[in-house]
Amino acid sequence: MKIARRMIIKSSLALLALASLPRLLMAAAWPQKSFSSSAASEALTALLGTDVTTPSDKIELKVPEIAENGAVVPVTIRTSLENVESISVVVKNNPRPMAATFEIPPGTLPRIATRIKMGETSDVMAVIKTGNGIYSASSEVKVTIGGCGG
């Protein structure tokens, strides 16, 4: 009896200690599986739990029609969708389609601008996860010189 009680108290104390650990990680873990997927559908499922997105005209995806240099392709994404949680950039024909993904905390505007590498002509898709669904918009970028190196 005595031993059992001691064990119960010990384990509850241990649990309490764990619960009061400060939150060391301020961000979700780096989505390794999604970034190493070689197919867009796999990459999306690994990141968002599904590869099904609803096309939305509330997403403004700005990419060049023709990229002279596939190593530096500017991408700007904005949206008027509400309750945006994340914005992701998927390059369908890249060896690993998930190029980048951005976590949007409340109070941060749902827009990003960056530059990506494209290996060849491809659709570039903006995938936006909101509180009420996952939306997307796509645009083709023609690439003359591929930018993945090698």
Partner: protein
Amino acid sequence: MTPTIKLSAKLDGNVADIKSLMFHPMETGSRIDPDTGNTIPAHHITQLIFTNNGKTVMVANFSTAVSKNPFFGFSFEGASAGDILKASWVDNLGETDEIETRLA
């Protein structure tokens, strides 16, 4: 380490427009060194985090497909002059850098 982050922060009312430029090779791990014939190992920023007065305002997750010397711009609300904006990155080799600026 020589600073590897350049930050520009413009305050418009209570919206802060942030532009950042990082100096980083962003090696994909597939490139072959023309001199040695060896593959250059992957070396790229994995995560770039921005906080404003300690509150996280953006987390950017980068794959190797983000361009060398990454550029990244975004905006957030609830900003005021005097706020401390901090940008910090970590890469796949565990290297890190960070920079702070005061919003004005």
